[in-house]
């Protein structure tokens, strides 16, 4: 990391720089806004427009492997050809609709499981003595900094036929033959919950640690049983954490490619995997683009609208 400028240094290159830039009509404010905006227009907005455009094209043999939308005739006419056939194809082949539905299901179930495991963990950490809290939180965050791919890989060694779990169960005599766990939907759930559990715990912890202990005592003094106190005090007050944590698990889970590819079986349909195969195996760029556009409309846009609504609620408070 570079050292930040200290006031002791007499060399101030920015004075020269700012004078130069002002001379060509660019103020500091303009530059600060312009640089990230331009970058995002070129590397975020334009690519999405191109995806939309190619989704309306047809596959062709050549480089690039799709037909141009605009064709220029010899007499100077310009012809625009748009094909909706890719989208009709997505609707007619049940593979794609099933993949969408099954992605939603996998993401939803994984989120619920992560919440069920993450909530008691976050609660325990939030109520632990203060000197242990940092250590416990660090233990939750630590796996996140190690490679995601290698952590998913670790589960292959755990779940496969002669893997750690099967060997252990057979050693204890609980089972006689290995259970098939790898290449099933079960393995995909395990992988997603495992990967995104820290994202669930952190926001839950943040909202639970702010919880005022006197509220719980008041509730108990008024005769409420622990379960009642939990349902009518703790749970509603930790709602922001539940929502934030669930979004952080649900959103990446929907488009997941690596986990179903490594842990799932051939029949584990997920939309991220379908897009990948459409592009890398079938080399059909237009259909892959159409899958991406459909994914944007069905998945990403609703999530963004939801987040915006949530931000508005937070700001109003």
């Amino acid at each position: 990391m570079s050292e930040t400028a200290t006031s002791a240094s007499p060399w101030r290159p920015w004075r020269f720089l700012s004078r130069r830039l002002n001379a060509i009509g660019l103020t500091g404010k303009g530059l600060v806004i312009l640089a990230p905006t331009l970058w995002l227009v070129v590397f975020f907005l334009v690519p999405l427009v191109i995806v939309g455009q190619i989704s309306l094209s047809l596959m062709a043999y050549g480089q690039p492997p799709y037909e141009p939308l605009l064709t220029f005739g010899a007499d100077g006419t310009v012809q625009l050809t748009l094909h909706l056939s890719n989208f009709l194809f997505l609707l007619s082949d049940s593979l794609y609709i099933n993949a969408y539905l099954s992605s939603l299901r996998v993401a939803f179930v994984s989120t619920v499981i992560a919440l069920l495991i993450g909530y008691p963990m976050a609660y325990y950490i939030a109520r632990a003595p203060e000197k242990y809290r940092h250590l416990l939180l660090m233990l939750v965050i630590l796996p996140f900094w190690t490679s995601f791919l290698l952590r998913v890989y670790a589960w292959i060694g755990f779940l496969r036929g002669n893997g750690v779990i099967n060997n252990f169960l057979m050693w204890t005599g609980l089972i006689d033959a290995p259970i098939t766990m790898l290449q099933t939907d079960f393995a995909v759930y395990v992988g997603i919950v495992y990967t995104y559990l820290p994202f669930m715990i952190l926001p839950l912890y943040t909202s639970l640690v702010k919880l005022d202990g006197t509220l719980l005592e008041a509730s108990a003094d008024l005769g409420a049983k622990p379960l009642r106190t939990f349902l009518s005090v703790t749970l509603p007050l930790s709602m922001p954490g539940i929502i934030a944590g669930s979004m952080l698990v649900f959103i990446p889970a929907i488009g997941e490619y690596v986990i179903p590819a490594l842990l799932g079986g051939p029949d584990t349909l997920m939309i991220g995997r379908v897009l990948w195969d459409e592009f890398f195996s079938n080399r059909d760029w237009p259909v892959a683009s159409a899958v991406a556009v459909a994914m944007l409309i069905v998945v990403v846009v609703p999530i963004m609208l939801m987040q915006r609504a949530q931000d508005a609620v937070v700001e109003r408070r």
């Binding site: 990230p36 690039p64 963990m121 325990y124 233990l139 893997g163 990446p252 991406a292």
Partner: protein, 268 residues
């Protein structure tokens, strides 16, 4: 304070076992002599030797580190500018658009980001001849873009907590906006820049999907090499690699925590 007896500690303990058991097994079996990763047959360092004599893995690791370093640096500069624009300038044309564009990559599935950037690079090459082919440069551009979104989030929250009176005082004493930024604002938000850079570095090192779309022949990043190895089944040299990465990360995180604790919020 309410205590729930045995339930919470047991669930928390099981949760931590769930988080760490796979990592521990990776480490243990990296020292296993046997090729069958999960059958223990004796202590050995042969997979480490195999790892360090594998030019493909070493080359990919070096490429990934370079990409992550450059991409995290670009993302830190752009993300900081973006955060300043969004926090400090409340009114300008395109503010809503910028807010949307910089937060969208956070919810965008990797497959869409990867596909769209690949199509951009193909179209750009056809139109301007740049970037010629795909490889390190295109991966850096792609990673900078999505890491920038994360840096913006980190720096933005730090900037909006910042006490404006310090900057105003400097301005009253005659400092220009650029000088105020470098002398007052930057030192205060530096910790956020460091964590943003580290986050970007980690995310870039970790990315498989986007890199697979935008890379070209001969420029496979470390995750791409690992993925192609792992797809064919478990391989013990990947365990050795994982152990090294876990070791570096553990030392780094513990060191960062200790340093952070010794100077509690010195700059806020």
């Amino acid at each position: 304070m309410m205590r729930r007896g045995w339930f919470l500690p047991i669930v928390a303990a099981l949760g931590f076992v769930f988080l760490y058991a796979p990592i521990v097994s990776l480490v243990v079996f990296s020292f296993n002599e046997n090729r069958l990763v999960t059958v223990w047959s004796g202590f050995s360092l042969r997979w480490y030797t195999a790892l360090f004599s594998d030019p493909q893995i070493l080359g990919a690791a070096w490429l990934s580190l370079q990409i992550a370093f450059v991409a995290a640096s670009i993302a830190t500069v752009l993300g900081t500018l973006c955060a300043i624009a969004l926090v400090r300038f409340k009114r300008f044309r395109g503010r809503t658009a910028l807010t949307g564009m910089v937060s969208a990559p956070l919810v965008m599935p990797d497959v869409i980001t990867g596909l769209s950037l690949l199509l951009l690079f193909v179209a750009m090459e056809a139109a301007f001849g740049w970037p010629a082919g795909r490889g390190m440069l295109t991966i850096i551009l792609a990673h900078s873009t999505f890491c920038m979104a994360y840096v913006t989030v980190v720096v933005r929250s730090r900037l909006s907590d910042l006490d404006l009176s310090l900057e105003e005082a400097a301005q009253d004493l005659g400092a220009g906006p650029v000088r105020v930024f470098f002398d007052i604002t930057l030192p205060i938000i530096a910790p956020a820049l460091v964590s943003g850079w580290l986050l970007g570095f980690t995310l870039s090192l970790d990315d498989l999907v986007i890199a697979s779309f935008v890379s070209g022949p001969g420029s496979s990043t470390l995750p791409m090499v690992i993925f192609s190895k792992v797809r064919l089944g478990v391989s013990p040299d990947v365990n050795a690699l994982a152990t090294i990465i876990i070791g570096i990360v553990a030392v780094g995180v513990v060191a960062a925590t200790l340093i952070g604790r010794r100077r509690p919020a010195s700059s806020s």
